[in-house]
């Protein structure tokens, strides 16, 4: 089981990094989403794996519980990552619509700005 989770995290990370190294916005967004999955599962797994032991207290008998803390952290991380993805998507979209170009890299012409003397 651990090997499955660990290899899945590794593969998702690798695919995510490969995609964020692409030069267009959409693959980068996909890559970030994949890395988000990988990181969330990673954090979750730091609480160690357990089957049939949700952290919901049982009043009637003594049962084992999984580690609740990483779960709480990951829960908010999932929601925040939606916010982050949405912002990136909007930035990518606005940039594309404004310039009709979805490259993420600035071309050398873009970065030439005349330094103005403000004195």
């Amino acid at each position: 089981m651990e090997a499955l989770v660990a290899s899945a995290v590794g593969i998702m990370t690798a695919a995510g990094i490969f995609l964020i190294l692409r030069r267009r916005t959409f693959p980068v967004i996909l890559g970030l989403s994949l890395i988000t999955y990988a990181v969330n599962v990673f954090l979750f797994a730091t609480g160690r794996l357990a089957l049939n032991a949700p952290a919901v207290l049982n009043k009637y008998e003594e049962v084992p519980y999984t580690d609740p803390l990483p779960q709480a952290l990951v829960l908010t991380a999932i929601v925040i990552s939606f916010g982050m993805t949405a912002v990136i998507v909007m930035i990518a979209l606005s940039a594309y619509l404004s310039s009709k170009d979805d490259h993420i890299d600035m071309s050398p012409q873009d970065s030439v700005d005349a330094p103005g003397e403000d004195a």
Binding site: E2, V5, I17, I20, L30, S33, T46, A50, A55, F82
Partner: protein, 956 residues
């Protein structure tokens, strides 16, 4: 009045002038004056205890872990400076009311002035050197605002930048010095440091600490070779020059040296660094001042010279010199502020500050003439004025000082400086007021209204009174302050009086005065000589250095930040991988303590799906729609895995976030190209793949190693499990952590989420207000559109599901505290229920029926969560402490209530609002004219009969 209040009052009062300026300039000035007056009164009521030699303190542990405590103390030295700051501040506020013209934004001026005043008061009252540093930097910042107050003048902006660069740079050095000092002593509290003289002076770090702290003091007090910023700061309005550059800010460095005098002074290093710097500064400033034609520049260099004088006295390290320094601080503040204000009046009334264009004003401006003359003669050191007294003491002390075995060097140079000092003081009087009356003044000079001259007149009265009755008026103050400077030891013998008999100092004074008159008479010749001499122009050197730094940092920035984001990403990843490799090769790893769980067939199937989908995304990522479908598969497997691995809350959250994320990405793909073209070379792809694979293997191996080992130390999770029900009243530990144990984190997170949604909204607004809007309105879709854009089946199904979905949302919300669920998940579920209506009947239809604004929903969510947290204060508990209990209403079973539930409501609203606002904004891109439909679904038989165009037009 508490010292906290005295230090805080100017900051609090700084708000009012900016607000009250709408009610008129008098209102703004009165508010500033009233604030200062209150603080001054608060200070004055401490007079009895100060005069007894007590130290008033106010202590508050701010960040004890760093040794940073908001401790204030008021002793004689602090009292004197606070008195100067607040007292002269009050006079300056009055003067500035009449000085500034109608076009100047006066509200801003007073706000900056009060900010500065607060920072200065903070410096002199601090009993903690870290706190002192904070206020120190605040004075640099607020003086920057004041010097650059006339934003339209390039000199003002350049002067402000130069002052900030020099004093701010010195401040940085001082931080380092103070930290070293604090480390030597083991405390950052001044009261402790001042008791540790032997410890500090015996430390090997004494010299570096001394040099660094002195760098801070010398830059602030414009000591050679950092004196050049002060004349350039004179581009500020005259009230600022009078306040900052004569009475207060430049004295901050002196204050620091006086404050640290008991522990830092008395060594050879202190004597040779401080006294020599002071001596050189005093002489240099006096010589340059004589040849300046701009009145304010003349005064600026004379200030430099006098600051040098005081620095030199402090540098001597003897008690008598310390008394003389204290006395001269008082005297200099009175006559120099008066002189600056006089210069301001002359400038204001004649239209010029150029000495060469002035002269003969004594009959035109008799009041100004009287004030200016008395103040200038005091600066020259003539009896019976106060400048004479302290200069006598200074000269007296120099006679007893030996510099590198030479008993004549210090007194000789000091005499020369006094001579020049007398000369420029006489020049101020004779070249401005005396001489023949002219007829080419830029304006018609006459005495100003009483508001302008009353402040300097008051100071000049002080100049005379202190001169005549020094022992009675300032004697006790000087005694108290001096004893604070020398660290509470016994005062040396001194007497504040005009006549000391025929002592060397008297002969030196006479020589200086006569020599000054002689120099003045030779001024024309001297000026020719001066102008012929080559001399370095500080501004040019300063700017050359600054420009070199600018070019260097521009080059570094251009090289590092060339705008190629993928290069940043690869550097970041490669560096992280390198760090991981370093940790792997140098760290140790414990033995495996956990037995791996057996892998059953279903997880293996899930793994195959996930890995297949992930590899598929990599392979097919050029086909964007297909990769979206595949990433949906990944998300689905991840949520199922969460559920399988005992995390039902995560599973619920992940799957609902999955839905909204997919909708978002699909919507955005509508506008983006559908294919990703090939634009990196094969080599580059292989390189990227290699880096990714290494990073992936590292991450996977790391988590594998973690999962097979137990925690090395006990975790706080057990605490959460044990106290979830007892302390938080809920059995779902994950939810209790979110809304109770870590409620503050959650509170921050919903704010972040709300901000993200608002950013999206703002971006949409910004983009739609450009020409993009036209493009969007005429855009042709990528794919052929379905004939049924709002199909009957979907509309009916979503309408039926709406109440059910809301019900599910409510159910998930209410059970959240005890069973998997809660505000986050409920918010997402309800958002999906609404989104379904948008999808079924279209944006326009849905938006017309929308009854609440999403901005408001986010806002209410955050406010409710905050109000719940604040509620705890009323029960005298910390922010966000929750409470719970049980209620028994007869027809229902006993049920639980918890304030955490209210907090969760806030979370619910914020999440709902944020998700809806984000998707709503994105949908606005898709809006096109003609999309508005009266009907919720498409029942348009005409569309299926395209040949009958006439009929269709009629219909439209």
């Amino acid at each position: 009045m508490s010292l906290f209040l005295i230090a805080a009052l100017p900051f609090l009062g700084a708000v009012f002038p900016a607000l009250l300026i709408r009610a008129g300039r008098n209102a703004a000035a009165s508010a500033a004056a009233l604030t200062t007056f209150l603080a001054l009164m608060g200070l004055l009521i401490h007079i009895p205890s100060i005069m007894r030699g007590d130290v008033v303190t106010a202590r508050f542990d701010w960040i004890p872990g760093l040794g940073l405590n908001a401790n204030f103390m008021l002793d004689g030295l602090g009292f004197l400076f606070a008195l100067l700051i607040l007292g002269i501040g009050l006079l300056i506020i009055l003067y500035a009311r009449f000085y500034l013209s109608r076009e100047d934004p006066m509200g801003q001026f007073y706000t900056y002035l009060l900010l500065f005043q607060g920072a200065m008061v903070g410096i002199v009252l601090s009993d903690n050197i870290l706190l002192l540093i904070i206020f120190w930097e605040l004075t640099s910042l607020s003086s920057f605002l004041l010097i650059g107050y006339w934003k339209h003048l390039p000199e003002g902006r350049q002067g402000a930048r130069m002052a900030l660069a020099v004093t701010g740079g010195g401040g940085l050095a001082m931080i380092a010095g103070m930290l070293i000092l604090g480390n030597i002593v083991g405390s950052y509290d001044l009261s402790v440091i001042l008791q540790s003289k032997e410890l500090i002076q015996a430390s090997p770090y004494y010299l570096p600490a001394l040099i660094l702290i002195l760098l801070g003091a010398f830059t602030k007090s414009a000591q050679f070779p950092f004196h050049f910023w002060l004349p350039h700061a004179m581009a500020a309005p005259t009230p600022v020059s009078a306040y900052l550059h004569s009475a207060t800010m430049v004295k901050a460095g002196l204050f620091l040296m006086a404050r640290m005098w008991p522990v830092l002074a008395g060594t050879d290093a202190w004597f040779y660094i401080v006294a020599t710097t002071g001596l050189v500064t005093m002489l240099l400033g006096a010589v340059i001042a004589l040849f300046k034609d701009d009145l304010k520049a003349l005064l600026a260099f004379s200030t430099v010279s006098h600051l040098g004088l005081i620095t030199m006295l402090l540098g001597f390290g003897t008690k008598f010199a310390a008394v003389a320094a204290v006395f001269h601080i008082i005297n200099h503040a009175t006559f120099k502020a008066a002189l600056f204000m006089t210069a301001g009046i002359v400038d204001h009334e004649t239209g010029t500050r150029d000495v060469k264009r002035l002269g003969g004003l004594r009959h035109l401006m008799p009041i100004t003439f009287t004030i200016g003359t008395i103040a200038a003669l005091s600066m020259a050191g003539l009896p019976p004025l106060n400048g004479f007294l302290s200069k006598e003491m200074m000269l007296e002390e120099t006679v007893h000082t030996t510099w590198l075995n030479s008993p004549y060097l210090v007194p000789g140079l000091a005499l020369l400086a006094s001579l020049f000092s007398a000369a420029y003081s006489f020049r101020f009087v004779s070249h401005v007021f005396l001489g023949p009356q002219r007829d080419d003044y830029p304006a018609h000079p006459h005495d100003p209204p009483v508001g302008l001259w009353i402040a300097p007149a008051f100071l000049v009265v002080l100049v005379i009174l202190i001169g005549l009755y020094s022992a009675a008026i300032v004697g006790p103050l000087v005694a108290v302050v001096s004893s604070a400077v020398i660290g509470g030891e016994k005062l040396p013998y001194y007497s504040l009086k005009l006549w000391h008999g025929f002592v060397p100092a008297l002969y030196m004074s006479i020589v200086a005065t006569l020599g000054g008159l002689f120099l003045l008479s030779m001024h024309k010749r001297g000026e020719q000589l001066w102008n012929a001499l080559p001399r370095p122009e500080a501004k040019v050197i300063f700017e050359a250095i600054i420009n070199a730094f600018t070019r260097l940092s521009q080059w570094v920035t251009d090289e590092l930040h060339n705008g190629v984001l993928s290069r940043y990403a690869i550097i970041f990843v490669a560096f992280t991988v390198g760090l991981g490799y370093y940790a792997y090769t140098t760290g140790t790893i414990g033995v495996e303590t956990r037995v791996p769980l057996p892998a059953q067939i279903i997880p293996i199937i899930g793994w195959i799906c996930l890995v297949g989908a992930t590899l598929g995304i990599m392979w097919f990522h050029r086909n964007r729609l297909l990769s979206l479908v595949l990433i949906g598969v990944v998300g689905l497997i991840v949520s199922v895995a969460f559920n399988y691995l005992s995390a039902p809350d995560l599973a619920l959250t992940q799957i609902s976030v999955e839905v909204v994320t997919m909708i978002l990405l699909l919507l955005s793909l509508n506008f983006l190209p559908t294919e990703t073209p090939w634009d990196s070379s094969a080599a580059r792809r292989w390189r990227d793949a290699a880096i990714s694979v290494v990073a992936g293997i590292g991450t996977g191996a790391l988590i594998y190693a973690i999962m097979l080992r137990d925690f090395a130390f006990p975790t706080i999770s057990d605490f959460h499990l044990a106290n979830s029900y007892k302390g938080g009243g809920g059995t779902n530990v994950v939810n209790v952590i979110l809304v109770d144990f870590r409620g503050f984190d959650t509170f921050g997170e919903i704010i972040v989420l709300g901000i993200a949604a608002l950013i999206i909204f703002a971006l949409t607004e910004a983009v739609l207000s450009t020409n993009v809007r036209g493009y969007l309105l005429n855009r042709k879709p990528h794919w052929p559109q379905s004939g049924d854009s709002h199909p009957l089946m979907m509309v009916v199904a979503t309408r039926v599901m709406m109440p059910i979905a809301l019900m599910v949302g409510a159910y998930i919300f209410f059970r959240g505290h005890n069973q998997p669920g809660g505000g986050f998940i409920a918010g997402l579920v309800v958002a999906i229920a609404y989104l379904m209506q948008y999808m079924a009947s279209g944006y326009t239809w849905a938006i017309e029926r929308q009854r609440f604004y999403y901005h408001g929903t986010i806002g209410w969510g955050v406010l409710i969560a905050a109000a719940t947290g604040l509620g705890a204060w009323f029960n005298e508990r910390p922010f966000l402490t929750s409470d719970f209990g049980y209620i028994n209403w007869p027809p229902l079973e006993e049920f639980e209530w918890a304030t955490a539930m209210l907090f969760d409501t806030g979370v619910f609203l914020a999440v709902l609002g944020a998700v809806m606002l984000a998707l709503d904004s994105l949908s606005r891109f898709a809006w096109q004219p003609g999309m508005a439909r009266e009907f919720p679904m498409d029942i348009n038989p005409l569309r299926d009969d395209p040949k009958d165009e006439d009929k269709e037009k009629e219909q439209a």
